[in-house]
Symmetry: C2
Subunit: 360 residues, 2 copies
């Protein structure tokens, strides 16, 4: 979606978070004929619903006696479809800041949003629907490894050239860790070691058979224990992990490339550095508009706090609706009349349910 | 549901209105293990959704790209099913008042609710989810007819004995009016006249054929015009309607029984007489609890007003949820912890999704 010349995309509204709150906010904003872009750190839509309980039923979505997180997400995406809202997935918002006003007549600031994926957005309003935070790779509890991140330590998959002819250590016991180890072993690494606390992996029988066969063939070596330190060579390169076993024996594991795959966990991390006022990790909003203390900046869903707030999906949908209508009024400078999707020719045309010619 | 001895039913909560807001409030209350009774003036659940647009799609129910009012109602009823909440349909609430406290220790009053169907409820809290009001039969614009209501004028179907060997006039042009005229003609009336503004009826071909055949056979006589007055005999009995035609000719239509069937329309009517503070026909509530100015009396959905209120179904669901949790806290005297239906053994057991033995 980024223009080839590297300039920012201009949009009416940027929505941060593609969980239920963000998707429904995008729907309500698009319905009001605003241009909307959605950004999320996960590679798929759905937020907590998709990441924490994709297959578990939810019983309190109104009118839907039982739906899984996956089904709810699919329903919200289908609902959004006619509005053609771009989703920028797998991108963490790194910076969000007000742009200086171009002239004294500018009433509200524009917002500038940057992601680690190179996306630049200029928006007249921003909806933060960040839930419990961005789902980011869980880091190894060895702080000194940070200095090699992006060079020898990769929390997201690097291009295969990064491990070609190198000694690679993959850390983790999930399917994602095992699959990565198999892929690295199969595509040019000098050696692959899979490091895990114990020899039981959270994987299905088929993947386990592949792993056992790779271990049997000597393509993957298994190491047990937890990383507790890092060793550098004279040139300052990472050369080994220090590992402690369950019985507290220590050994060092030589490597050139480290790929920790300990799963994702939600972190406010980046948001905490955007300079917004947080109270107990929540954004305080006005309950009537969902606007934060900063003009043009709105927040909905689990990330918000206002008197009476309940962290339920049904409340997030309401908040997304109020925020979308408040933003529409802010950008248009006029009240939005009450209209129903059942009867309004304007809204029906917007949803592609009326021929455009019938539009008033 | 009424006990045989005529005493009132005791319940934790009475919900007035079985539209989306009332049904979802009942769900959230039942989920919190409160006993709930729902009352509605219509003979079926669904409120405006069922009465005004049962077959028209709604496009902004979250996660449901398009659903009809009927489908939404069915979904809400299925969701409510495991909680076994009694619905008292076809009953208009005539009176709602606080009962005198039994003792000085009573903190909050109990509420006494009475319907025209003979239902008596004593409730510790009441949720008014009355939407745009009760859907009541539209009255004839001839005020003096009121004095014969229940004697010779019936807005709801009386037992057949009421028209046996009598001269009956049915007023209206809908399918319900035509069906009633056919039924009355077929079950013992001395004569049946169907009075309507013009000779076009809002009925399908099959019913039209039945009507034409009944007119041809002399069972039903058609009269054109609108009632403008009533004539009484010396004994004070209603003996004729004065009717004006489209060309303003006048005639009188003799009758003994009058059955107006002009459709239903929503009226605040009864609610306006419960003694509650109304602002522009809305109940003012606290947005954090949905409580009205009277302790124990809550309101949700289109009938409410609070700062930022939008009359949308998605907002009614949120309000129903906040009201249910606030009522639970009021009745228990303790905060309700945040629990998810996806993971809480207590809520799952309540929904019949866990064996009771597994309940903590």
């Amino acid at each position: 979606m980024k223009p080839a010349d590297g300039t920012a995309i201009d949009t009416d509204v940027a929505v941060i978070g593609a969980g239920p709150a963000g998707l429904f906010a995008a729907f309500q904003l698009g319905l009001q004929e605003l241009s909307v872009h959605v950004v999320d750190s996960l590679p798929h839509a759905g937020g907590q619903c998709a990441e924490l309980y994709p297959d578990k039923p939810i019983y309190d979505v109104p009118g839907w006696p039982a739906c899984s997180g996956h089904e709810l997400t699919q329903g919200l995406l289908r609902q959004l479809e006619p509005l053609h809202v771009p989703l920028h997935l797998g991108q963490v918002v790194q910076a969000l800041q007000a742009l200086p006003s171009a002239s004294a007549e500018d009433e509200a600031p524009r917002w500038w949003l940057q992601t680690d994926g190179g996306l630049d957005l200029h928006a007249r309003a921003v909806v933060i629907a960040a839930g419990v935070g961005a789902f980011l790779p869980r880091p190894l509890a060895v702080p000194e490894l940070q200095r090699w991140e992006g060079q020898q330590v990769f929390y997201r998959d690097p291009p295969p050239a990064a491990w070609l002819d190198r000694r690679v250590v993959v850390v983790g016991g999930t399917a994602a860790a095992v699959q990565l180890a198999l892929r690295v072993a199969d595509s040019g690494a000098a050696s692959v070691t899979l490091l895990h606390r114990h020899d039981r992996f959270a994987i299905d029988a088929e993947l386990d058979a592949q792993l056992q066969s790779a271990i049997g063939a000597g393509w993957i070596r298994l190491a047990l224990g937890q990383p507790i330190g890092a060793l550098a060579d004279d040139a300052g390169q990472l050369q080994a992990l220090e590992v402690a076993t369950a019985t507290d024996e220590r050994y060092s594991l030589p490597l050139e490339v480290l790929l920790p795959r300990l799963g994702l966990h939600p972190r406010l991390g980046p948001l905490a550095h955007w300079g917004l006022a947080l109270q107990r990790k929540h954004l305080v909003v006005d309950a009537t508009t969902l606007q934060t203390s900063q003009p043009g900046l709105y927040a909905v869903g689990d990330i918000t706090h206002y008197p009476g707030k309940r962290k339920l999906i049904v409340c997030a949908f309401h908040e997304a609706t109020l925020a979308a209508l408040a933003i529409t009024e802010q950008l248009r400078g006029a009240p939005v009349p009450l209209e129903y999707t059942t009867t309004s020719p304007r809204l029906l045309a917007r949803l592609g349910r009326l021929p455009t010619a019938a539009r008033p």
